[in-house]
Each structure stands twice: as structure tokens, then as C-alpha cells.
């Protein structure tokens, strides 16, 4: 046979090597699911990985196991729709102050603490002309009350005067 075929053999060897490598290395569950090669070409086991990701926010019911009075307090207040976690989850682990280790006992991974800053309340209550002025609660559509933070008792934490959970005022007794 002519010498001219030799490069062809080299090419064939490379192709064979690639095919063998594919057979060995491609995961067996890598397919086009539902026959959809365009959008569903993937490792099937990867779907399970996405499903198995841990749930972190567990909602009111979880906190309610030990803080039933807070739930009760909030039930009919203006803050009834706000999750405890909205205000109480700290993104800086250092600010964590929950006396009970929820991670060990319940596998709860978020850091619970207290944020008394005005910034927290301003996220919703700072008055902006284009901020929706109504709000839907269990009682139907209500006025959503906003304050101008530069005029409404500046410099003092909102929680000094307001009872956050009942969205009302703190009684003088406290």
C-alpha cells in the first residue's frame, strides 16, 4: 500500500481514541430527555442535585413552634404578611443572636438575630411618590402608611416607640 495512507491511519487512530474516551468517560445517564436534544441534553442525575439543595427559609410555621405568641400578635396586625425571616435573618453570621442553636437541633441554616436599624423599616415605609399606596391584607385593600424618615423622629430606632410585631405602639409599661 502506498505511503500516502499513513496520515489517514493517524487520523483514524485519533478518532478511535476519541470514541473510546467517550465510551469510558461519558456518564451513562447523559441523554436527550424526552428526545429533546435541543433543550434537554444533560445528565439526568443533575436534576436530582438541584432538587436536593437544602431548603433554608422555613417560614412562619417553623418559628411558631417556639414563638406562638409572636405569631398570635402579628396575626391581625399590619405586618401579618411579613415573614419573621424577612426581618430576623442576618446575612452577616456575626450578628446572629438566637439563644437556641437552630442549626444543630433543627438543621436550620440561616442566622437569626435582631435588626433594630431604621434602614430595615425604611425598606417598606420610607415615603416615595411612586411607592404603591395600597396594600392587600386578609381584610382586603388597605392604605399602606408611609412616613418621611427625615421628618418622622429621625435618629431614633423605630422599635423604641413602635411595637414591631403588632405594628402598633409599645405600651408605656415596657
Amino acid at each position: 500500500m502506498s505511503h500516502a495512507w499513513r496520515p489517514v491511519f493517524v487520523v483514524l487512530a485519533v478518532v478511535a481514541a476519541i470514541v473510546v474516551m467517550r465510551v469510558i468517560l461519558v456518564p451513562s445517564d447523559f441523554t436527550a430527555k424526552d428526545g429533546d436534544y435541543k433543550y434537554q441534553w444533560h445528565r439526568l442525575s443533575a436534576e436530582q442535585v438541584s432538587k436536593d439543595f437544602t431548603v433554608k427559609h422555613r417560614g412562619r410555621d417553623f418559628c411558631g413552634q417556639c414563638h406562638p405568641n409572636h405569631i398570635e400578635k402579628m396575626k391581625d396586625s399590619g405586618h401579618q404578611n411579613i415573614q419573621c425571616e424577612n426581618c430576623h435573618v442576618m446575612y452577616e453570621p456575626a450578628k446572629k443572636s438566637h439563644p437556641i442553636n437552630l442549626k444543630e437541633d433543627f438543621g436550620y441554616l440561616l442566622n437569626i438575630g435582631i435588626d433594630r436599624s431604621r434602614e430595615l423599616c425604611k425598606r417598606c415605609h420610607a415615603e416615595l411618590s411612586y411607592r404603591p399606596k395600597t396594600y392587600t391584607s386578609s381584610k382586603g385593600t388597605e392604605k399602606f402608611k408611609q412616613i418621611d424618615p427625615t421628618k418622622h423622629n429621625p435618629g431614633i430606632e423605630c422599635a423604641m416607640c413602635h411595637d414591631v410585631h403588632s405594628a402598633g405602639f409599645k405600651t408605656a409599661a415596657k
Partner: protein
């Protein structure tokens, strides 16, 4: 000594075919693959989302919850969901911003860092954004290795162990819903909280929203609120011109929204 044009053409054609056929033949010639081109749109149940911009107050609680839920480092400026603010002034100027994706909420009338007098504002709107989980996701189409895909129930996910990090999907998403995860250094995106919705929970952003601006549900499921809203109310989608068939439906969008 030169070749005739005809010969050249023949060789050229051969070469082109020769380049394309060999490896692709292994996968692309399956009949199912071709059939997937003509599948009609969404006969099956699939996840969809409704955002009511008229209810959004721009508190950014959804962004915070999303970042913590999905372990996207809080102080790094990438996010799976974010809230944009559009402010139109009385002189016609439109100011748009989304500082840090609004993870700390909007607490001042300072679009793009400029303090604006309330009196100058003509209108404003908050627009929460997230991955549109398109029916025809261009990001999935362009992934060279099959590291991102659409599930049978319509959610687009990333296989982080398989991603090569080329960024092609990121550049092909019209909504900029994708980014490089600072944790895994691979492409990352909103999953509609796939780990939650498949367990019967709502998405973290929906639970965090005290104003009911976000809703998730199944399309083509008569019991789902989302399906009801989409089929009875006036909804629109973002950037339909790209042909991705986005599945996040908006109530109360405005011409200034991008």
C-alpha cells in the same frame, strides 16, 4: 498547474461535509432530535411565574431571601433575582437603577445615586426580575456541552459539575439572568427554587414578598392562580422579540421598562 474551478468546488464541498459530519453523526442524526424542532408549544404542565409590578414597593426582601436561600454570597454583586426602579421625571427623563440588585431595598428617592425632589417625579415603577425560564431558552441552545438544560416541567437548570465556564449562555441571555457564581465559578441562574417547588413549597422570593407581587404556579393547571391570571388578565412579557417565549408574566409593565 492550476486546478479547474469545478474540481475546486467539489473538493471544497467535500471538505465542508467532512468537517461537519464525523462527530455530529454520533448524536444529531437521531430522529427524536429532529422531531424536537417541531414540538408544539407547552402542551404539558410547566412552571410559570406572575409578577404584579403594581404591587411591588421595592423593599428588596425577595432579593435578600433569594440570595440567602440559594447561597449566593450576599455582598457580591450578582443575583438570581433583583428589582429595578424606573423613574420618569416631569421633564421626560427616565432614570433607571438597581443598586446592588436592590438587596438592601429602596429607602430614598435617589435613582442612580442622584437625590431627586419628589415634586419632579412624574411616575415611577418597581420591576422585579428573575429568570424567565423560557420555553425556548437561547442560553440552553448555545451551551456547547449540555451543562444547562430545561427540565420536563419547564425550569432551566445548570449542571455545575459539567459546566466549562465559557460564558456563552450568559451572553446569550437577553435578560441577563445568568452570571458566574462566585462560589462554584460556573454559570449560575435562578432555578425558580427548584428544590422548594418540587417539595410543594413556594419560591423563597414569593414567600418573602409581603405584598403578593410574586406568584408561582403551574401553567395548564386549572387550579393554579398563575394559570388563572395569565388566562384572564392582561399580562405581558419582557423582550418577546427575542423569540425565547419567556414564562414570567408581568402585570402593569410600562413602555420605559427594559
Amino acid at each position: 498547474m492550476s486546478l479547474s474551478r469545478r474540481e475546486l468546488l467539489k473538493m471544497g464541498l467535500l471538505a465542508v461535509c467532512g468537517t461537519v459530519i464525523p462527530l455530529s453523526a454520533l448524536e444529531i442524526l437521531k430522529p427524536e432530535a429532529a422531531a424536537s424542532l417541531i414540538r408544539p408549544y407547552s402542551e404539558h404542565k410547566r412552571w410559570a411565574f406572575v409578577v404584579d409590578t403594581t404591587k411591588c414597593v421595592g423593599c428588596g426582601m425577595c432579593v435578600k431571601a433569594c440570595k440567602l436561600e440559594n447561597e449566593i454570597p450576599f455582598n457580591i454583586d450578582v443575583q438570581r433575582t433583583w428589582v429595578e426602579r424606573y423613574v420618569q421625571l416631569k421633564n421626560g427623563d427616565v432614570l433607571i437603577d438597581s443598586p446592588h440588585g436592590a438587596r438592601n431595598g429602596y429607602i430614598k428617592n435617589d435613582p442612580q445615586g442622584k437625590e431627586i425632589n419628589e415634586a419632579e417625579v412624574a411616575k415611577g415603577i418597581f420591576v422585579p426580575k428573575l429568570c424567565n425560564q423560557c420555553e425556548k431558552p437561547s442560553c440552553v441552545q448555545v451551551c456547547p456541552v449540555g451543562a444547562t438544560y430545561k427540565t420536563s416541567d419547564g425550569v432551566v437548570l445548570v449542571d455545575k459539575g459539567w459546566c466549562i465556564g465559557c460564558g456563552y449562555c450568559i451572553n446569550n441571555c437577553p435578560y441577563l439572568a445568568r452570571f458566574f457564581s462566585p462560589v462554584t465559578n460556573t454559570a449560575d441562574k435562578c432555578t425558580f427554587c427548584y428544590h422548594r417547588i418540587t417539595k410543594g413549597l413556594n419560591t423563597a422570593c414569593m414567600d418573602a414578598c409581603a405584598f403578593g407581587a410574586r406568584k408561582i404556579g403551574m401553567l395548564n393547571d386549572p387550579n393554579s392562580e398563575v394559570a388563572k391570571i395569565i388566562s384572564t388578565e392582561r399580562v405581558s412579557v419582557l423582550k418577546p422579540e427575542y423569540g425565547n417565549e419567556p414564562q414570567v408574566f408581568y402585570i402593569g409593565l410600562d413602555a420605559i421598562v427594559r
